[in-house]
């Protein structure tokens, strides 16, 4: 047990750093994920992360694995795709999800092409797309911790309007709640969380820690707050187990954590108390009154 769970972290500093970073993100990102699921925007975070890739690729060619450059490139490209998709679908009358899909496929292709043309090898592409424990340097760790702190503070203050805006935007607007402004703040937080997860989890997998626990949480609670706690719990467990798996099985961190979180989702669908498949099968008998 000790060899399996404790020894890797005790022995290697880079694993400890990755653990601290992933735990920080586990506290903030899944809560945002819960709101994304409730808003039926589960794909948005994905699009942001994929859309960021060309920016990350260009920054990588210019400055190598320098964290601030990668973030800046990713931030700019991700915002262009997210804001551009909304504006484009409004202007052309198309459906936003279709526009988003088109843009993020384009961005993914462009990103990989840019890295290859610029002389980046397969190892670089793997690193950028799927993350690496070695990627969590001091600036990356500070960013992850800072973003998590900021996210929790904002969520604590914006909880009421976010829930109201999510549940009934028309009522909220008529009653004088500025839903649009809160929504922008929320989207900014999503972008920050995705970007800060790049180093550890990679651009393709960064969203996994945000969405999978949030989707699984639906099966553990009947209220938004309960879902948030459940999502954080699942994310924390997935981070620890994922890093252990990554170390022992020599899998990149991103896919390892996503695999564990995906397993947690599967267990939730099967055995979760709210709308889980098992509880449906077992609850043949009904209450008498």
């Amino acid at each position: 047990m000790h060899d399996l769970l404790i020894a890797p972290f005790a022995e290697f500093g880079f694993l400890r750093r990755a653990l601290v970073g992933c735990l920080a993100l586990s506290v903030s990102a899944p809560v945002l994920g819960v709101f994304l699921v409730l808003r039926r925007m589960s794909l948005t975070a994905d699009v942001l992360a994929h859309g960021a890739l060309p920016g990350v690729a260009i920054a990588f060619l210019l400055a190598g694995f320098s964290a601030p450059f990668l973030w800046f490139g990713g931030l700019v490209a991700g915002l262009v795709v997210a804001v551009g998709a909304g504006a484009l679908s409004r202007a052309t009358g198309g459906r936003e999800d279709a526009t988003l899909a088109a843009l993020y496929l384009l961005a993914l292709g462009a990103g990989v092409a840019i890295i290859s043309v610029g002389g980046g090898g397969g190892a670089d592409i793997t690193h950028i797309l799927f993350g690496s424990v070695l990627g969590v340097d001091d600036p990356a760790l500070l960013l992850m911790a800072g973003v998590a702190t900021l996210t929790l503070l904002v969520l604590a203050f914006a909880w009421r309007p976010l829930v109201l805006e999510c549940f009934d935007p028309s009522f909220a607007a008529a009653a004088g709640a500025r839903g649009g402004a809160w929504h922008l703040v929320f989207q900014a937080l999503v972008v920050l969380n995705v970007i800060s997860a790049f180093q550890a989890l990679g651009t393709l997998m960064a969203v996994g820690l945000m969405m999978l626990p949030a989707i699984a949480a639906r099966h553990w609670a009947r209220q938004v707050s309960g879902m948030a706690y459940a999502a954080v719990g699942i994310a924390v467990a997935s981070s620890v187990a994922g890093l252990v798996l990554s170390y022992h099985a020599d899998v990149p961190t991103g896919p390892a954590i996503v695999l564990i979180a995906g397993g947690a989702w599967a267990v939730s669908v099967l055995a979760g108390p709210v709308d889980g498949l098992l509880s449906r099968l077992l609850r043949r008998r009904h209450l008498a009154g």
Binding site: R160, C166, S170, F171, A174, A175
Partner: protein
């Protein structure tokens, strides 16, 4: 809840609302007088919901203006169908949303606020439902819950979009009693309705809408067979090659 209240009316000045280039509400002028109880009727696609959303400030006029007389404290009952009824939230928390105009994002709800929310739940016949998730409610119960939220909100202008659709007869009767109470308290109520018998029985004023205002005034004068026929003809006249409207803005 409170006895006398500040009068709050709404005046429409040559109001035009559009979806793209298509007019949903076309050059409508008139007045919802303070304390009036008005039904908005008309065929499907006549612009009733669009008008209500504009009155609530959710849809910007393409031309003309919506002018508030007195306060603009508005309570909106959206169409039940527009609500995500599987949303994970407890009934009491939905009712507490009605406190938003007073509490905003940050102020804490007092014990008194909580008590008011409980009383509102009781007033709509949902005592004991405080911790129940919204997802476990029937359509009629959900509509009762949304009325409780309006009770707590204590607004001067109430905009109700198809308040009695998809609910059972008893619920409709109970909710109608609340609407009557609001009218008696001097609040201004505007409701989109389909049941013309109900309108004739209970609503003093009626706006017959079919993009244009076909008639607007006392229900007996507005809701004539001729006006209803005219409204239906207007709604069915859907010309793709219609010329741009050149009526003065």
């Amino acid at each position: 809840m409170t006895g006398r209240r500040a009068p709050a009316g709404i005046r429409l000045d040559n109001l035009t609302l559009t979806h793209g280039a298509r007019a949903a509400v076309h050059h409508v002028s008139g007045r919802f007088a303070p304390g009036s109880l008005t039904a908005v009727v008309g065929p499907n696609g006549a612009g009733k919901t669009t008008l209500l959303r504009a009155l609530a400030g959710l849809h910007k006029p393409q031309g003309g203006a919506i002018l508030h007389e007195g306060t603009a404290r508005i309570g909106l009952l959206p169409q039940l169908a527009a609500l995500d009824r599987a949303f994970p939230i407890a009934c009491l928390d939905v009712v507490m949303q009605g406190l938003w105009p007073r509490l905003g994002a940050f102020r804490a709800a007092s014990a008194e606020d909580r008590e008011r929310a409980r009383q509102a739940l009781a007033a709509v016949g949902l005592s004991g439902f405080e911790r129940r998730p919204v997802g476990s409610l029937s359509a009629g119960q959900t509509q009762r819950l949304l009325f409780a939220r309006l009770l707590v909100q204590d607004a001067d202008i109430l905009l109700l979009d198809e308040p009695f659709n998809a609910v059972d007869a008893r619920t409709a009767a109970d909710l109608l009693r609340l609407v009557r109470d609001w009218h008696g308290e001097g609040r201004t109520v505007v409701a989109v309705l389909h049941d013309l018998d109900l309108v004739t029985r209970e609503f003093p004023d009626t706006l017959v809408l079919a993009r244009d205002a076909i008639a607007w005034g006392p229900t007996a004068d507005a809701l004539t067979a001729a006006n209803r026929m005219k409204a239906r003809m207007m709604a069915e006249a859907w010309a793709d090659d219609a010329a741009a409207c050149d009526r003065a803005a």
